[in-house]
């Protein structure tokens, strides 16, 4: 590895008593793509932050061109030719595409005045070079998430980096857009750029990576190539065999307890009707933007319905707010756990009881701390949330554990109907399997569950029936036991 550009040798990093990276050696060569995979919490982000200058290792060295390098801060790394595209966008929404690409580095004339026309030209040049058709003058806030991602990449490339680090770059992209990104990465590779590609998506990694390194619990546990099978990679990532989703089809479905008829919200969705039986999981599939989440929000009272009726256990409900929905026995686990689900700076315990407070206060409304802690502890154990401590802040948990906290919150509220929206997005394989198991158990215990998911194996594996949305309409309901991914995609995109 003598043509290695950027690397780490025996790097360790601890936060408090917790070892996040343990003697990791890793590097990337010019003109190659090195993928870094691992579960959430395996240490990928920490390693990325060390390579990008945001963190200093406790021991070991970072090397640039074979020589030890100590980046004082991320800016120093950027100046050394290391470009990083973060998962969370570092964009300026109300500035133009061109201003975002050249933020802080606009071409200026004498006395520091910005040369707007040169700025536009240079931005156009970068965008053409990477084959992106965007107007340099468009405000970034008006762009799709995929286009924003391309702006972020254009920004990193405008610095002519020798090393490009990408963190989950396809998580917001459609298949088509992801393929375009891969072509761009292959092109950069052929021009000698070293690329570090961090991802959960094994299919992506196997498509483009030259080398694959696997991190588990802070240790580098394997290095392989794209020929490795997904099962091998998953095995290395989790260190044990994870059974794929077990289709635990239920046979003892009860009566229909939840029904919606003719739900309509103008220009968002129209005439949506379905029912769910006791102990049944109804999957809702469809493309992003097909109206599934919007229907769920409207049922839950978070958005207004223009027409339609909702029955629970034979009673017609008039739901005007989430508060009424919860009181009526409906729960909704949001798809956006950080923005709409968790109280990030409050404790795990506070989060778990957030929707079930009414049963944990005295008749005068005074909190009963012991009952609250007992309730939180019950779900910490039942859902295997780590750490098993109700007093840590929710923001410190990994994505998978945060998702379990949200699930715990709704279990504690004990709804009759639970709508879960993308319950496993961005969580690691083990947590995903755990969440699937719990959803199955809940259904077995008689809860009616509506599962919204873009993960087709998940929908097919868990659901008794699968409704498919297209452009705001529920176009069909398929039998979960016999439907295939192709069936769903055909209805979703016809």
């Amino acid at each position: 590895m003598n043509d290695q550009i950027l690397g780490v040798q025996g790097v360790s990093k601890r936060f408090g008593r917790h070892t996040v990276l343990d003697e990791v050696t890793f590097g990337v060569r010019a003109g190659s793509i090195h993928a870094l995979v691992g579960e959430n919490g395996a240490g990928k982000s920490t390693l990325m932050n060390i390579l990008g200058g945001a963190l200093r290792p406790d021991s070991g060295t970072v090397t640039l061109d074979g020589r030890p390098a100590a980046f004082a801060d991320p800016l120093a790394a950027i100046r050394a030719g290391i470009g990083t595209v973060h998962q969370e966008f570092g964009l300026f929404p109300n500035r133009s595409v061109a201003q975002n690409i050249f933020a802080g580095r606009e071409p200026t004339g004498r006395a520091g005045f910005i040369r707007w026309r040169a700025l536009g030209r240079q931005a156009q040049a970068i965008l053409s070079e990477i084959g992106v058709d965007l107007a340099p003058s468009a405000p970034v806030a008006t762009l799709s998430v995929a286009a924003q991602q391309m702006v972020e990449i254009a920004k990193a490339l405008s610095l002519r980096p020798r090393v490009l680090i990408l963190d989950e770059p396809t998580s917001a992209l459609s298949d088509h857009e992801a393929q375009r990104l891969f072509r761009l990465l292959a092109d950069l590779r052929s021009r000698g750029v070293a690329i570090i590609y961090i991802s959960h998506r094994l299919s992506d990694v196997r498509q483009i990576a030259d080398e694959i390194s696997v991190l588990r619990d802070g240790r580098l546990v394997g290095r392989t190539t794209r020929e490795a099978s997904p099962a091998d990679l998953i095995g290395m990532m989790v260190g044990r065999h994870i059974e794929s989703i077990t289709p635990s089809r239920r046979t003892n479905l009860g009566a229909e307890i939840f029904r919606v008829e003719g739900l309509t919200r103008h220009r968002v969705f129209a005439d949506v009707s379905f029912g769910v039986r006791e102990g049944e999981i109804l999957g809702l599939a469809g493309l992003v933007g097909s109206g599934r989440t919007e229907v769920a929000r409207a049922i839950f009272g978070a958005d207004r319905l223009d027409a339609g009726r909702i029955w629970l256990e034979g009673r017609a409900l008039a739901i005007g707010s989430p508060r009424q929905a919860i009181a009526s026995g409906i729960g909704y686990l949001t798809e956006d756990r950080k923005a709409l689900g968790l109280f990030l700076t409050m404790t795990v315990g506070d989060n778990i009881v957030a929707a079930s407070m009414p049963k944990l206060v005295s008749r005068a409304g005074v909190l009963r701390p012991r009952a609250i802690r007992a309730e939180a502890a019950r779900y910490l154990h039942r859902l295997d949330i780590r750490p098993v401590d109700d007093r840590v802040e929710a923001r410190t948990l990994s994505g998978g554990n945060q998702q379990k906290v949200l699930l715990a919150k709704w279990l504690s509220a004990a709804p009759r109907v639970l709508i879960v929206d993308e319950p496993t997005r961005g969580v690691d394989v083990a947590a995903k399997a755990g969440i699937h198991r719990h959803l199955s158990q809940l259904a077995d215990a008689g809860m009616a569950i509506v599962l919204i998911s873009s993960d087709l194996p998940e929908v097919l594996g868990l659901s008794d029936r699968v409704g498919v949305f297209r452009e705001g309409r529920l176009v069909t309901i398929l039998d979960g036991a016999t439907a295939t991914q192709e069936d769903i995609m055909r209805h979703a995109s016809a």
Partner: protein
Amino acid sequence: MRFRVSVIRAREAWLAVMVLVVSGLLALAEPRFLNASNLVSVGTGMIYDLPVAAGMTLVLALGGIDLSVGAIIGLTSVVTAIYLRSGGSVALAVPIALAAAGGAGALNGVLVARFKVPPFLVTLATMSIARGTATVLTSGYYLSGLPPAYLQIGRGQLLGVPYPVFVVLGVVVVFDVLLRRWKPLHDAYYAGTNPPAAVLSGIDVGRLVFAGYVASALAAGLSAVFMTSRLAMGYARFGELAELRAIAAAVLGGASFSGGTGSILGAALGVLLLAVISNGFVLLRLSVYWQGVVSGLILVAAIAVDASRRRRNEPR
């Protein structure tokens, strides 16, 4: 030129139309509004609010807020008057006034930029400190008897127009151009929109934020110099509610409480709108006591517009 954010330009045009509409209605209701002497008095009435609103725009663009500007006007006025009455030189009076104001701004800047205290709390505290100090220094009395040479600063005229009008117009125009087009100041928009990303873009966010609070306080100091000179006294209660009018004007002009937007031209048009409305109160013989109520209502309206704009920018 294509890269100036079109939203801001639209806001400025909209505000200019508002000014014309309100002026038109006022002229219909009270023809004296169009008298040359009245128009001049509207214009000179703006010289106190314009610099403060310009400074406030910069602070808001940086994602902050400065509640202390009104109190800094009072403190600066009192310090100037005490200095002059103790036999100080007129030539040094202005630098001393600006030093006092700038010092207060530097305190704001250090606490916000260096110690990361929320700007609302910092400037609420300095507001109380500055106003309190000014009141203690004067026991609440006016300090009159300032030297005639000092009074010339605010009252002297060139071609029939008071000096401060030229100074303030110059400040506003230069400030507007710099914020729009001069990279070191234009960086404020990046710093206010997404501070961590701005740092990673090589922008010294801390230094900009510090400079923003100093600039805002210096603008208040300039306002205090003119007020003290034109009204011929130092008074601890000068500049009361100036922060409110400045925030209202800046937000009307396109600034947002979430940072990253706003223009000096927009804020100046906001000041003009407020000035015309308050002139209307005088001409129509409505009680001046209503003016605070109306400024507050306009601020609420501006905040509502800001909030709805932010809602529209959210994904859902």
